[in-house]
Amino acid sequence: MNNKEFITELAKRTGRTMSSTASLVEDLETLLKSHLEENDTVTVYSFGTFEVKKKMERISVNPISGKRYLIPPKLMLAYRQSALLKEKFNESGDFAEIPDDNEDETVND
């Protein structure tokens, strides 16, 4: 589902025009950003949590050239799904691998 489909669906359900829906989505995003900017966590019940996490700087090695790089610290937006969502999407079956290669390797010695 791409952006256009998403807006269309949302507009249909809320009974708004596409353009107002799109601008509402945009506003929602700026609201989200403004919260995250202040280091708030944004929790949407039934959907999940958005929060900003700091990644420390680290040294990484290019395995081919062997060169070492210092990767600077950064702030990342992290999303964590809610338990409800996890339940909903895992009610049925084994989703250990999304491409449905049905190799049941659950036989562990």
Binding site: M1, N2, N3, E5, F6, E9, L10, R13, T14, R16, A22, L24, V25, E26, D27, L28, E29, L31, L32, K33, H35, L36, E37, D40, V42, V44, S46, F47, G48, F50, V52, E57, I59, K67, R68, Y69, L70, I71, P72, P73, K74, L75, M76, L77, Y79, Q81, L85, K86, K88, F89, N90, D94, F95, A96, E97, I98, E105, T106, N108
Partner: protein, 490 residues
């Protein structure tokens, strides 16, 4: 942080409609995920499934191995614009490549760079210090109390002492060209004015401490004028010092002006020599201290100028003392050096200690007046310091060819300092053939090999050089390495 209310407020819509909008927004995402497995929203990013595989774990209570079943979770990949917005505070950072070839080598290089900088700034004054500072610092290290003031004193003392060899030795030294020029003047004056030989020596020694403040006149041109005016005031103080008194009084003025350029010349040439010969090896901490301390001194001098008399007294004395030095130094000193070496060195050390005590008090005006008194008092306190100094002083006096030999005693502390500061020695040795071959074992490094074969880690660069290694940080176990035979340069 209520998204619904804020959205209603922002758009001017009812809370209920905003609420339904937000709800449906996330519902649509969920439905889209359910249907297509992926939802892309402009401005936000992509929601999609990520698979979590089965994994094994241990039941905490029973200790049994259990399998935690895999599942799929919703992952959110924010759009680049959103990512960048979040990361704005750190946006100035960039990934940089680390240059880890010869990391060890970098550090000494830094040190030398700083040294050169410092040397440039302090130029003229420092270089005389360089000869003698090291031994003195050695002395002072045991006495840790005298932290900064002491250090500053040391350097000054070093200058003083360093000048003594110059003055005393000139006939013998190799650099005589410069010094001889200077000598010509003192000799003339010396003939007429030197009354008693023992007195002369002592005056020299005592004059040393006060020479310490020479830097000020050099830097501040104002001083000479004042000196002329106040020399009389200075001289009485000197007379207080029993034996000195005889020599000084009237000579200094005329020759003082004469002396400045000559002294400068000598200092500069000295600097050049020292820099050429030992340019690499100086320890940075001391120099930094010296420079800063000297700044302080200058500042003090400037501020003191306000209370003109005080500062002038201080400044005035220098020229006189220098001359005394020179006068004394030429002939009589040499004659008597051998007999009175021990005594003179003791006196010199005493004088240095006086200076320290005085400087702590910061009562510079009183310095000269007090010197005589303090000389008697302070030596007792500082006796431990004195003994090392005497040892140091003797070599200089005895061996007038100072340059090589003064530095020679300095050698030991220098090496210590090097050990503290540098991690590699690349200049002190030459490679002469192969000492051994070594097959690398696990956990061995070039540095360890250096420690093993030479007992000195800092010699590792020779191994690297001898084996023409491109990257000494990556060596392979089992490779054979030739250990060069090293001979210390002289």
């Amino acid at each position: 942080m209520n998204l619904t209310e804020e959205l209603a407020e922002k758009r001017g819509i009812s809370i209920s409609s905003a609420d339904t909008f937000v709800r449906t927004f996330f519902d649509v995402i969920i439905d889209g995920l359910d249907k297509d497995g992926i939802v892309k929203i402009k401005g936000w990013g992509t929601f999609k499934f990520a698979a979590i595989k089965d994994r094994e774990s241990v039941d905490v209570n029973t200790g049994e191995r259990i399998v935690i079943k895999g599942y799929r979770k919703v992952a959110f990949l924010p759009e680049t614009s959103l990512k960048e917005y979040i990361n704005r505070p750190f946006s100035q950072f960039e990934t940089t490549e680390l240059n880890d070839d010869f990391q060890l080598d970098d550090e000494p290089v830094e040190v030398t760079e700083q040294l050169t900088e410092i040397e440039e700034t302090v130029e003229v004054k420092e270089q005389p210090v360089e000869e003698v500072t090291l031994p003195i610092t050695e002395i002072i290290q045991p006495v840790e109390e005298s932290a900064q003031p002491a250090a500053f004193l040391n350097t000054d003392a070093a200058e003083q002492t360093s000048e003594t060899p110059m003055a005393v030795v000139p006939e013998v030294t190799e650099e005589t060209k410069d010094i001889t020029d200077t000598l010509a003047v003192p000799e003339a004056s010396a003939d007429s004015e030197i009354t008693e030989e023992p007195v002369a020596e002592e005056t020299e020694m005592e004059s040393l401490p006060e020479i310490e403040e020479e830097p000020e006149p050099l830097t501040t041109p104002e001083t000479p004028e004042k000196q002329e005016i106040q020399e009389p005031s200075a001289t009485p103080e000197q007379t207080e010092v029993p034996k000195q008194a005889v020599v000084a009084e009237n000579k200094p003025r005329k020759s003082w002006k004469y002396w400045l350029p000559i002294l400068l010349l000598v200092l500069i040439t000295l600097c050049l020599f020292i820099y050429l010969f030992f340019g690499k090896g100086f320890s940075k901490p001391k120099f930094s201290i010296n420079s800063s301390e000297k700044d302080k001194i200058r500042v003090e001098a400037i501020t003191f100028d306000d209370d003109a008399k005080a500062s002038k007294k201080i400044n005035v004395t220098f020229p006189e003392r220098k001359q005394k030095e020179s006068e004394v130094s030429d002939e009589e000193v040499n004659e008597e050096l051998e007999t009175e070496l021990a005594e003179s060195s003791d006196e010199a050390s005493e004088a240095v200690e006086e200076l320290k005590g005085e400087l702590k008090d910061e009562s510079k005006e009183e310095v000269k007046a007090e010197t005589t008194e303090e000389v008697k008092e302070e030596p007792q306190k500082v006796e431990p310091k004195e003994t090392p100094k005497t040892t140091e002083a003797e070599p200089k006096n005895e061996v007038p060819q100072t340059k090589p030999k003064v530095t020679a005693p300095a050698g030991n502390p220098l090496e210590k300092n090097l050990k503290d500061i540098t991690f590699a020695d690349t200049l002190g040795h030459t490679i002469e053939g192969t000492l051994a071959t070594h097959t690398l074992q696990v956990d061995e490094t070039i540095v360890r090999l250096a420690q093993k074969y030479y007992g000195d880690k800092r010699l590792w660069p020779y191994i690297v050089k001898y084996n023409a290694m491109k990257n000494p940080n990556s060596i392979v176990v089992g490779n054979t390495i030739k250990i060069p035979k090293l001979k210390a340069k002289e």
